[in-house]
């Protein structure tokens, strides 16, 4: 186990300055989740276009550095992307957390890949995996659950 792997510069940056925090304009889907054991909370908002493009994406939440960074990176990476890409990246991400496999989607910039991959250090901290994955599961619920 290596703390430096877990708390990389990129993660600390996202945790301290989360991107896309708050309710995004015109959100038409949302979902929230919380982990009753540790008190972490996340609420994902998205503005999903008729064309299945995510026009806007944001989150509210409180929690540890890992959960904040994960939500922040998620919103940053998926804003503007379409649903099929979102699904693929989510699968890849969850896989990475589980098996330390690499993210290789070629529509992502190297920078984006580095950013997302910074979360893979959590793999060696089993009790923290939920912190990293909660936002991603919640995004899926939000997509599936139309906000009326």
């Amino acid at each position: 186990m290596d703390l430096k792997e877990l708390y990389q510069e990129i993660i600390l940056d996202h945790a301290k300055n989360p991107r896309n925090h708050g309710k995004c304009n015109g959100f038409n889907h949302d979902a929230k989740a919380h982990n009753p054991l540790c008190g972490d909370k996340v609420h994902i908002y998205l503005n999903l276009g008729k064309d299945k493009n995510i026009k806007d994406l944001s989150f509210e939440g409180e929690g540890c550095a890992i959960s904040l960074a994960s939500a922040s990176i998620l919103t940053d990476t998926l804003k503007g992307k379409d649903l099929s890409f979102t699904k693929k990246l989510t699968d890849d991400f969850l896989n990475m957390i589980k098996t330390k496999s690499k993210i290789t989607l070629n529509s992502l910039s190297e920078d984006q890949i580095t950013t997302i991959s910074s979360l893979s250090g959590v793999q060696e901290f089993p009790m923290r995996i939920k912190c990293a994955t909660m936002a991603w599961h919640t995004l899926q619920s939000a997509i599936n659950k139309k906000n009326i």
Partner: protein, 405 residues
Amino acid sequence: MNIKNIKSAFPIFKQKINGKPLIYLDSANSSQKPQTVIDKISHFYSTEFSNVGRSVHTLAVKATNRFESTRDKVKNYLNAKHREEIIFTKGATESINLVASSFGEKFINQGDEILTTELEHHSNYVPWHFVRQKKGAIIKFAPVNEKGDVEIDEIKKLITNKTKIIAITHISNVTGAIMPLRKIIDLAKEKKIPVLIDGTQGAPHLKLDMQDLDCDFYAISCHKMYGPNGLGILYAKKKWLDQLQPYQGGGGMISEVLKEDVTFASSPTKFEAGTMQTAEVVAFSEAIKFLESLGMENIQNHENEVLSYGIEKLKRNNSVNIIGDPKERGSVICFTMKGIHPHDIATILDDDGVAIRAGHHCCQILHDKLGMPATARASIGVYNSKEDIDVLCSAIDNCKKVFKI
């Protein structure tokens, strides 16, 4: 045995955690077990195991004697008046559920009030919530003040002629506040209101005397007092034993079973349905022996020394915010650090071999009031030392390094 080197009585401390000595500061969650307790379990299973109370063969006799003599030991340890006041349960949670269910069923009705505090562990709230749901009762919460104490006056104010029971913790597992039990029980007796004490955090640290304390119910988790997992105790004052219906039905707790009706044995059997945790009960006698051989006063003095040292040292650390400043504190220090979430603290501390807990510690109402979803908690057991606190403090400094604060 000398408290100063008592770690050697606990085999867990031979472990290295991430290459470092284990500094176990999570005893409020569950305590580690001395070798004598562990050995008793093995020895009992290997040489004397049998179900108790039901067979007449030699092993059953041995097991039953050991089981029942542990009850006597617990009775003496708690200075209860009668052995039938000692009921074995699965843990403090089950002890409180038993009382809430059996007492609630009979004595709490629509509009009646259950008086508790904002400090309570979920185990001393959710069972009463069930009673509220079933009976249409009301739960009143005596407020905690900014020091982390619940003042006797706040309790007094909330008592009405509808108050049917007062359910309150002995020591808060978050602020560490030791409740003014003597005053609360005196007040309750004046008003003829029974009192249940959640003694989960009290029993491992304080000398107990049921006849002197004179509460109606006292709930204990054996696994927090150096005993085995999966075992708890409910002390219930004799006057209640016949009044309360049994909690679970099954073998052993009956008197006569007919198709039309069932009558029940007397306490404690009545409240101990089904096969009990024989080995755990038998091994718990070794935990009591352990506590008695050290002496509760010595344990308390030692723990208080370590606790005060910890409080002092953490107070001097500007990045650390200690939760609560109660009049009397028992064995628990909750804290937060600016810019570092308690979970991250716990993970970073673990890298230095320091085991603490982070979260709401099953006290969500209190954490909501504190405006903090989570805190970090270092809790002290008999095996902790000032050196442990030193390691804790340097591990805390390491958190700042990792977070570059």
